[in-house]
């Protein structure tokens, strides 16, 4: 649809950090951002002077709603001692910080700046679950959330459509959940650090201790079918299909390509950035695909010259398990209607042919919405540099990875391709 677009000059990531994700009653957004920033600074192996940062872009969905504070640009700039440098907040629901990343990339490509800080933050856990549901619904289209169609219901509807069209079922979504729970314990930043098997064992031990009937689940799926272990939220979405409420922050240092190696010997380059908009479910051409994904993917593939089969691994926006299936098909990693079969065969596991969400995904790493986009890119950065520790993708040299970020009910999608050279 769109013409092939190139940036006027290249952009590289030379540092990255993220806070621990989780529910932190004793930390605020500034604490969390400082935690991410400190890791980022430490990651810049040749060192840098923070005063070289010329501008800031920061994604935040709605701390307006969650903690009654907007205008995060200058708060972050002040926090880091970077005033009077310009600081801009972007908002695209759960894709807010990828919008910051994209705007910062274009700012460097435009020639205006050489060194830009980009990040995201969200502080959600000080609200009740009901309030968070209400707050997140601000990101739906007006004819969705206000009519009672909040996120679990929306993704339940998408799953139902996918099941009906392709013959998949809840057991296929469970494969995604099980995989995320296997990756997360290997990620020290993740909100959850137990596998499904760990959680089953804990439930059994508790029942034994309390002299109650001990569940006799033979495997993970049997537990996930048990509504006592995995209660329904909005059919077919059950508890283990849904990401948690989280606090967290993430950030990166972007620089012009030609100066990247003065910061680190291991820069990661921006190969393609793409973004698209959707129209809400009532007008969507399909309930098993996001039109915004297709546009974002076409932009990013066009810019990078890469094709889906060139992408070696990806983080995708699994706010709900069904979303992961839709994304890996929309992005061309698998044919439409084939994703759930590939997942069942293990293709998306760390050792599979196309590892997806090695971080644990939003499901297990956590989803502080404004921080998520840059945190996905942090995982791609870690994997590309071979620094992902125990969760490093085994047995292959990594050159090209990607992250897909979703905002709202498909209102905003981004797709970002990073590469080593």
């Amino acid at each position: 649809m769109q013409k092939e677009k190139k940036l006027g000059r290249g952009v590289a990531i030379v540092g990255a950090g993220m806070s621990r994700f989780g529910m932190f009653p004793d930390k605020d957004s500034k604490d969390l951002f400082a935690e991410a920033y400190q890791e980022m600074v430490a990651s810049i192996d040749k060192g840098f002077d923070p005063k070289d940062i010329e501008a800031i872009w920061i994604g935040n969905f709605s701390n307006d709603f969650f903690i009654h504070q907007a205008h995060w640009g200058p708060i972050i700039s002040d926090l880091l001692g970077l005033a009077p440098r310009p600081a801009t907040r972007t908002e695209g629901a759960c894709a807010s910080s990828t919008l910051a990343f994209r705007d910062a990339t274009m700012a460097i490509a435009s020639g205006l700046y050489d060194v830009v800080l980009v990040g995201g933050v969200e502080e959600m856990s000080k609200r009740t679950t009901e309030e968070v549901t209400e707050g997140l619904a601000l990101a739906t289209f007006p004819y969705e959330g206000r009519a009672g169609f909040t996120f679990p219901g929306v993704f339940g509807a998408l799953a139902t459509a996918y099941f009906a069209k392709y013959g998949a079922g809840r057991e296929h979504l469970m494969n995604i959940t099980i995989k995320s729970h296997e990756n997360a314990p290997l990620n020290p930043k993740a909100q959850f650090n137990k596998t499904i098997a760990d959680l089953m064992a804990a439930k059994k031990a508790k029942a034994e201790r309390e002299g109650k009937p001990v569940p006799d689940w033979r495997d993970e799926k049997e537990a996930l079918w048990d509504p006592k272990f995995n209660p329904p939220v909005a059919w077919p979405m059950h508890l283990f299909d849904c990401c948690p409420i989280s606090d967290g922050a993430s950030c990166m240092l972007l620089v012009a390509e030609d100066i990247a190696r003065s910061f680190t010997d291991e820069p990661v380059y921006v190969a393609g950035i793409g973004q698209g908009s959707g129209r809400g479910l009532h007008a969507a051409p399909s309930l098993t695909s996001f039109e915004a994904n297709k546009h974002a993917a076409a932009e990013a593939y066009g810019m990078s010259g890469y094709k889906p089969q060139d992408i070696q691994f990806a983080e995708v926006h699994d706010c709900f398990s069904i979303a992961e299936l839709i994304h890996i098909e929309d992005l061309g990693f698998f044919e439409a209607g084939e994703g759930y079969k590939a997942v069942a065969e293990g293709a998306t596991r760390r050792e599979g042919s196309m590892p997806i969400n090695t971080s644990g995904g939003l499901k297990c790493k956590g989803h502080p919405v404004g921080a998520t986009g840059v945190a996905q890119l942090y995982e791609v950065w870690k994997q590309l540099r071979g620094e992902a520790g125990e969760r490093q993708i085994p047995g292959r040299e990594l050159h090209v990875g990607a992250a897909q970020n979703l905002g709202g009910t498909g209102g905003t999608c981004t797709f970002t391709i990073l590469e080593r050279r």
Copy 2:
């Protein structure tokens, strides 16, 4: 402080529109944006196909708070039939839409897009005055609004500091109010369309009709000193020092410089864009200047090559009368401490040497906060093209105009210089 920066390629404005500003119980944000968009489309004299728009940036402060709806990018993209094109919301308090303008400018300069829609919207009047005060306080620094230091108080403090430092008084602020009320009736989009003299006459007529004592004000200032005509809000800020609560929208079509003349024979070019951040009043180096202004001005002057004396007229962010004084000094139009004297001599009137806020300013045109930045640029566009009608600056050929936009208590400032060629 910062290096001189240039954009990789030039950017031009080829169309502009704004809704009427005011309090519209029967219009929502989409209605208002559509109104602005229709005027913009009509202004593109050689015509264009909306499908040529490749991306959108839209400024909105906190419709999250005001009408419980965030994620305005895809809503606007859907409204205009532009999905799946990418749409990004920027937020920088009352400077939100200038941030959109700056990001869109860099997007074109980066080479990524050739044709970009930029705009802003805010829908405030469905909340009570108390609620709007609370909502706007989301834009202060956490250690201001939450401590009770809301906007009228903040600007009252700045005015007090200015008075103490330079020997000015309320009578000098009144000159600004009187001038704004003289310009606004010439602007068909303005929220208020009466001069102070009109309002005095109306009050006198009403008193006469009702058989009450008729005020014997001899001139505008005598009326503005009368607390019955002009009650205090936060000393020395009185009612007529403060902008109103407004709904409205604004938008512009930006294109790459080399294709501008295929849209219009009268493009207006982006000569300089600048942005800066402040640290809140407790840490500000001065209470009679915004450090964010100085940074924004240095960036924009540096990029454009223009000096303050080259700017022929400007719109500045007069959310309160004192702000106009501070800005015209910060931007170098007048020496620090000299602005109030120049205003008293009529320098900032339409026929003066440096016309300021020919639109009527925020005070009289209205201030739907997310729409304000691009609406300021709309006025500069109108003046530069000689299309400002009755309020056209008389007696001179205009080539260079500028707009200054403020967010929060100085947290964000932008300065944008436009030119004819």
